[in-house]
């Protein structure tokens, strides 16, 4: 197991290195430059700015410098935000996104799993149809519609929670988390329902019934764990996406998160920030996939991992 984890960590770094390389050159091949918008600059000033940010050097040299800094954990200096370091920029933006993402994930999955279980256990009844309807709504209604509805009713009409911004402690996080949670909620509900129905018709569930287990024991002791595998496969990447920020929801609630920052940095060709955000997102995704792989083994003993033959 330790050997396996070690191997995976090495692979994770290699993956990250490749992603950094590919995105670096992809970005360089884009038309325009970070200072294209500085139209008022004359030739000399332009040269000074280019020299300051190091973009006068040949591409391979720039790449070498970037990778060297990256290895030290330095993501470079932002072009757009008055020479602030990308590390600082991301650090100040990551917290709201992390909190919202994590809350949405936990709430969405838990409620989704409950709804899905309910639907599967009471198949073809009012509960099943109700939960399915709810899940389809969750999948098909865009999060901004749901976000606006929450804002209108809960914040603006009933004054229960703030409309937006990130200045009222946990209260500020409730509505955006709810809006974000709809996706994972609907997805978990659908997955768990389908999987539970299949598991509930399997032989070992009949055996559990034949032992005298009651409905609760069958659902939670015997069926649930076996129904979880497909769900965590899709939830992993979804979690990475949520935690690294949702542009739409952050915009609607005026939350200074990472998603919002990503888009604005693309608008102004802020290479260093784009790179930084991309790498952060990739690192999250890779890490979560790693966690998911470990979880497989925890949930299903048949997929216990070993170091392999290598």
């Amino acid at each position: 197991m330790v050997k396996y984890i070690g191997k995976r960590i090495v692979y994770m770094f290699i993956t990250l290195f490749l992603i950094a390389t590919v995105s670096f050159f992809l970005m360089q091949s884009l038309p325009g430059s970070p200072i294209a918008s500085y139209s008022k600059l004359n030739e000399t000033q332009r040269a000074i700015v280019e020299k300051k940010y190091g973009i006068d050097k040949p591409k391979p040299v720039q790449y070498a410098i970037y990778m060297k800094n990256l290895a030290k954990g330095d993501l470079g200096t932002s072009f757009a935000f008055k020479g602030k370091s990308v590390n600082d920029l991301l650090a100040s933006r990551i917290k709201p996104s992390l909190i919202l993402g994590a809350q949405a994930m936990v709430f969405g999955t838990l409620v989704g799993i409950l709804l899905g279980m309910l639907a599967a256990l009471k198949q073809n009844t009012f509960w099943d149809y109700g939960s399915t309807f709810f899940a389809i709504l969750g999948i098909s209604i865009p999060s901004f519609v749901f976000a606006s509805l929450l804002q209108y009713w809960i914040a603006s009409q009933w004054h229960l929670l703030p409309v937006g911004l990130w200045n009222d402690g946990w209260k500020s996080s409730v509505l955006p988390s709810l809006a974000l949670a709809m996706g994972p909620l609907a997805l978990s509900a659908r997955f768990i329902r389908t999987e539970m129905i299949e598991v509930l018709s399997s032989d070992y569930i009949t055996l559990a019934k034949a032992k005298g287990a009651n409905g609760f024991e069958i659902a939670f002791k015997h069926a649930f764990r076996n129904a979880l595998i497909p769900l965590i496969t899709v939830l992993g990447p979804l979690a990475a996406g949520l935690v690294t920020g949702s542009l739409v929801v952050e915009q609607i609630f005026a939350i200074p998160g990472i998603g919002e920052q990503f888009v604005s940095s693309i608008m102004v060709n802020d290479h260093a920030t784009i790179m930084g955000t991309t790498l952060l997102f990739s690192a999250f995704l890779i890490f979560i996939i790693f966690i998911v792989d470990i979880l497989y083994g925890v949930i299903d003993p048949r997929i216990r991992l070993s170091g392999g033959k290598g």
């Binding site: 034949a210 032992k211 005298g212 287990a213 009651n214 015997h222 299903d300 048949r302």
Partner: protein, 354 residues
Amino acid sequence: MTKILQVKDLELSFHTFAGEVKAIRGVNFDLIKGETLAIVGESGSGKSVTTKSIMRLLPQSSAEYKNGEILFEGKDLTKVSEKTMQKIRGKDISMIFQDPMTSLNPTMTIGKQIMEPILKHQKLSKSKALEQTINLLNLVGIPNAESRYKMYPHQFSGGQRQRIVIAIALACNPKILIADEPTTALDVTIQAQILELMKEIQKKIDTSIIFITHDLGVVANVADRVAVMYGGKIVEIGTVDEIFYNPQHPYTWGLLSSMPSMDLADQKLYAIPGTPPDLLNPPKGDAFALRSEYAMKIDMERQPPFFKVSDTHYAATWLLHPQAPEVEPPAVIIERMKTFPGSRYYVEQTGGNA
């Protein structure tokens, strides 16, 4: 001769999209304490459904008890509450399933799976239950039980898994053990081991067994009595000798004739012609009539009642009616009947022609 279970006029239907499937159409039998009753018949004859209906393991949404009763310790199992049923399942009546590869929960250690009914029904402490679990594993012949109870099903072979399933079924010393084709999914050598194990255990804990199979070789090996099912009904029931050596129903003849035999190696194996009846629209008369060369006009019109052959042997065929013409069973069957005292073809020891 204590009757531990009585099934009376049991009728059960499944509601499907195509309509009502009459899977069991009036089944009667008693289970005597300590005996092994084999239920044989082809796929779809209602063997498994009958036993699952005893434990009420059929989907409640589609299965419906239409008529009859299942009497166990003074209770009609078709009528008792689900709660009562949960107390009976696994404690008084337990079941061994067909496919050991799928009947164990893959994400639970086998120790936990065996302990579950013990903890549930016997209210023992965890350590006592564990002790009993290890005893059970030893009983069913799993080596190194003390360390292996922590393992998962995929770490055992098919035969071992079936032993574990048997251990689960035995956990609370059930009064009735239902074995639903317990050896069908196993290879022949393992089959023999499992059958030996079951016989041994039956002696030890004095339980009654209902053994479902379509393997007549297995029946001859384990059963005291045999019930032959066809089209959702029992067509013949008797002791194992009576069924094997003095069969009366044309379907039983067909079954026994289609049994491969060592000394008939060069002959073509007999197969019963036709297909099983459609239980969506069951035939009016004898369900086997359309496939039987012995069918008479009345077989198409009316279902035959049980005719008594001996105190323990009954068969539902019009051929046993006093007015029925005498027919000659297939040659293989006559050969069998020659050895059975009391059959009309019985020949004294020395042999000769009938």
